[in-house]
């Protein structure tokens, strides 16, 4: 790893100032992707601004019926939270399946969604649950947040502070992990929300996470595994790599959607 200046600011304002003053500053919020990327010299920031000790960035609370998860809350904390298990068990379950136990002790929800890896689990939850990404400047609706592969609506000098979720009526996440890396080859999050059924697919899209309109319409008419059967997923726009081609992933989308609906129905 190249040398870097490490900072651990005590306040959000200090973090913003450090980022503004750095040649190429990056936020460190777990580092389970960023540090391996830096070790491979695929990223070489001049400064790392560790936001994990900033008060209010970490923890889970319930506010007006919404779950508010601090951006620096680890996957293990989300998976083990009584509030999350109670209000959105599918989200707790998703968090319990990210990476491995040691990674879950370090990786955070804010870091995962800010990075928007096409095979990450959390983006599907934020999109399917119609979550709201809260930053130091504004609130961003999930539909506006994920803008492309490793791209989000976040601007320079903008830090995610929390993610808000309204509990759905029911929901579930099903993923087909790569047998070696355990990253999602395809992950499908199905949520029956106040604004209708939402289906988000991760692991498969060339542009990262995406909503599946045809599945949403079919499940809106009938929230059953059988309703998934008549819905085709086009292979166009899906990832092809050594682990599976686009047609294979398109097929997996249907299989995972069916499993997710069955799980949501309990």
């Amino acid at each position: 790893m190249y040398d870097v200046h490490y900072h651990r600011p005590a306040t959000l304002d200090d973090a913003l100032n450090l980022l503004a003053g750095a040649d190429d500053g990056k936020i460190l919020s777990g580092g389970q992707t960023l540090l391996p990327t830096m070790k491979q010299h695929l990223a070489a920031p001049t400064d790392l601004v560790d936001v994990r000790r900033i008060p209010g960035m970490r923890g889970i609370k319930v506010e007006g019926g919404h779950l508010v998860i601090g951006a620096a809350t680890t996957h293990a904390e989300v998976a083990g939270s009584a509030e999350v298990r109670q209000d959105i068990p599918s989200l707790a379950s998703l968090a319990s399946g990210i990476g491995d136990p040691a990674v879950r002790h370090m990786g955070t929800i804010g870091g995962s969604i800010a990075n928007h890896d096409p095979a990450a689990d959390y983006p599907s939850a934020v999109l399917a649950l119609n979550g709201i990404v809260v930053t130091n400047r504004r609130q961003i609706a999930a539909d506006d947040f994920f803008t492309g592969l490793f791209s989000t609506a976040l601007e320079e000098g903008e830090i995610i502070t929390a993610v808000r979720f309204a509990p759905p009526k029911r929901g579930a996440y099903a993923k087909f992990p790569n047998p070696a890396s355990r990253y999602a080859m395809v992950g499908v999050y199905v949520a029956d929300t106040a604004s209708g059924v939402r289906v988000a697919v991760t692991g498969a899209g060339e542009n990262g996470v995406f909503r599946h309109g045809a599945l949403e319409a079919a499940l809106g008419r009938s929230f059953t595994p059988a309703a998934v059967e008549g819905v085709a997923t086009p292979a166009a726009g899906l990832l092809s790599d050594i682990h599976g081609d686009a047609a294979y992933r398109a097929h997996l989308v249907g299989v995972m959607a069916k499993r997710a609906v069955a799980a949501a129905l309990g």
Binding site: M1, P36, P101, A102, H105
Partner: protein, 165 residues
């Protein structure tokens, strides 16, 4: 350079290291605690697992500077004098190792999973142990005895032993 104060295996220490120093490098090269192994260096194999404030983490994917103020426990810090930690004793009794390279990480992950399952009152079944070992790779493929050792150690680990963490 980062000035860090950490408690390693119960001993408080202060060192100055370059900011980009990994916790695994800090332990092995600065403190000469070479029991923590580095296998893949890509956070997949788990040979480098140590505990930071009682939680298992991959020390090859953690900056030393970021654990300033924390308590770190390595494989060197779990025995009480000449008495092996119950997890170490169980690995010995069940021959839960072949070449031994992955063993420090396996033992630190094993203690972590037993502590978590006990705290939550969940049963640590052989299936659960295999699932929990997802981030620890044994290239000798000696998983069968590793699973048996962790299952046995879960029974042996008293609240006294876990409190020593």
């Amino acid at each position: 350079m980062a000035d860090i104060t950490v408690t390693v295996n119960g001993k408080a220490m202060r060192r100055s290291v370059p900011d980009h120093t990994l916790l695994s490098e800090f332990l092995r090269e600065t403190l000469r605690l070479t029991g923590t192994h580095v296998g893949c260096d890509t956070s997949q194999c788990g040979a480098c697992v140590v505990h930071v404030d009682g939680r298992a983490v991959k020390s090859c994917t953690t900056l030393a500077a970021s654990v300033d103020g924390a308590a770190v426990t390595t494989i060197e810090g779990i025995a009480s004098g000449s008495d092996l930690h119950p997890m170490q004793a169980a690995f010995n009794d069940h021959h839960g190792l072949q070449c031994g390279f992955c063993t420090p990480g396996m033992i630190m992950s094993g203690i972590d999973m037993v502590n978590r399952y006990k705290a939550e009152g969940r049963a640590l079944t052989p299936d659960a142990i295999r699932h929990e070992l997802e981030g620890n790779i044994c290239r000798c493929t000696g998983y069968h005895n590793i699973v048996k050792a962790i299952e046995d150690a879960a029974g042996r680990m008293t609240s006294m032993a876990t409190a020593a963490e």
